[in-house]
Subunit: 237 residues, 2 copies
């Protein structure tokens, strides 16, 4: 990847949620152990099935964890914001990468070799506990997605995804403003369908008054409770 090195900084590592509460001496040691680089937007950090077990800390910028089928269909998993980490699976089990990671913006990355990462987990039980909770959350999220893909139709999967985005954006007075709203193609790869079907379902929601465009980039869910009911009725939750 086209990169330039950046100065090592324990201060920058303070921004990483995984390291919250660590002592200065510990962060200084980590800053020295990490490789540091800036990466342009739209640069692959690593690709699915490749070797390498470095753990990456996103000091600044944004990255997408995703993969592509041989037919070119994208299956996206999550977007990493500054302060998050990725790449720990391969450090833990020494197996190839499970997904592609690509930067969405120009980003600053610190990366730790797998041995140094495992040593950190053994030195700092607090960090190990966070990794356990983080993996547990991933198992839960993927389990939900398998259940949704197995039992819900495209329409309800889109409603469920909009509901997640609404709650992530913050609900106030039963409304939520998703800004920026993901492009239709990104929504499609998140719920495993095609862009056309997303566009059709979003238009149907707009027509029913549940969704409203706001400027070029934002979507407003006008009745979060009603959307919640739509999903709950199908799910039986």
């Amino acid at each position: 990847m086209p990169t330039s090195t950046v100065p090592r900084s324990s201060l920058a590592l303070r921004r990483i949620a995984l390291f919250e509460g660590l002592a200065d001496t510990c962060l200084e040691r980590l800053a020295g152990e990490c490789d540091w680089r800036t990466v342009d937007a739209r640069t692959p950090v690593f690709t699915r099935n490749s070797d390498g077990g470095e753990v990456f800390f996103l000091v600044a910028g944004r990255a997408r964890i995703t993969t592509y089928s041989p037919q070119g269909r994208e299956v996206s998993f999550r977007d990493c914001e500054a302060g998050e980490h990725f790449g720990d699976l391969s450090a833990i089990d020494d197996a190839p990468r499970s997904a592609d990671v690509v930067t969405l913006e120009s980003s600053v990355l610190a990366s730790l070799r797998p041995q140094a990462f495992i040593a950190l987990l053994q030195r700092e039980p607090m960090v190990a506990m966070r990794i356990l909770r983080d993996l547990a959350a991933k198992v839960r999220g993927l389990t939900e997605r398998v259940i949704e893909l197995s039992t819900l139709g495209v329409q309800t999967r889109l409603h469920a995804e909009l509901l997640r985005l609404a709650h992530a954006a913050g609900v106030s007075d039963n409304q939520a403003r998703i800004d920026p709203a993901p492009p239709h193609a990104a929504l499609a790869s998140k719920i495993s369908t095609n862009r056309e079907q997303v566009t059709r379902e979003l238009n149907a929601l707009a027509k029913s008054g549940l969704l409203r465009k706001d400027g070029a980039h934002a979507l407003v869910v006008t009745d979060v409770r009603r959307l919640d009911t739509l999903v709950a009725d199908v799910r039986g939750a």
Copy 2:
């Protein structure tokens, strides 16, 4: 659940893979901390969305981790054999159960309260490392399943599942004997389709000579390499 208590036994905990290599004193302490019970076949151990964070060690028997959609459709995750553990997600993140667990045979279960489980992880880094690897494996398995559900048709998903079963059963001379083969309904819930479609695809494979029934319960994959090629061609792997 209908249960009867069984004697506490550190010897029985020796059968649990998670505890391999632990000192006798450590196992004796754990045996004392655990609740012990025998459970009949087809008994629910816990249900999705219920509270409770005990971690279960399957000393003897077999259990299925599964869930049901409101429409009654089963989505199954894995079968636990004697020596395995389950229920650790809720112990780690204090959230409700992510799936149902039901015994398939009469089983002996030891269970540890969440606080005692977390204390064990902090006392025994080897056990913590195994839980990390186990969660990483679950994230990988579920990621594959999401990718398969999102990008592969039912036919290829069935081929991929048969290939997994063949490799788990052991391949010798390019053949694998899956015994007992899962019922068609169980295969269907594993690859998120219906029983009729599984039956149709299995018949097609038998007709092509790739699969052969052997007695009442076994299936023989007659050409594992050809099955592998079928899946790889679609996956592009």
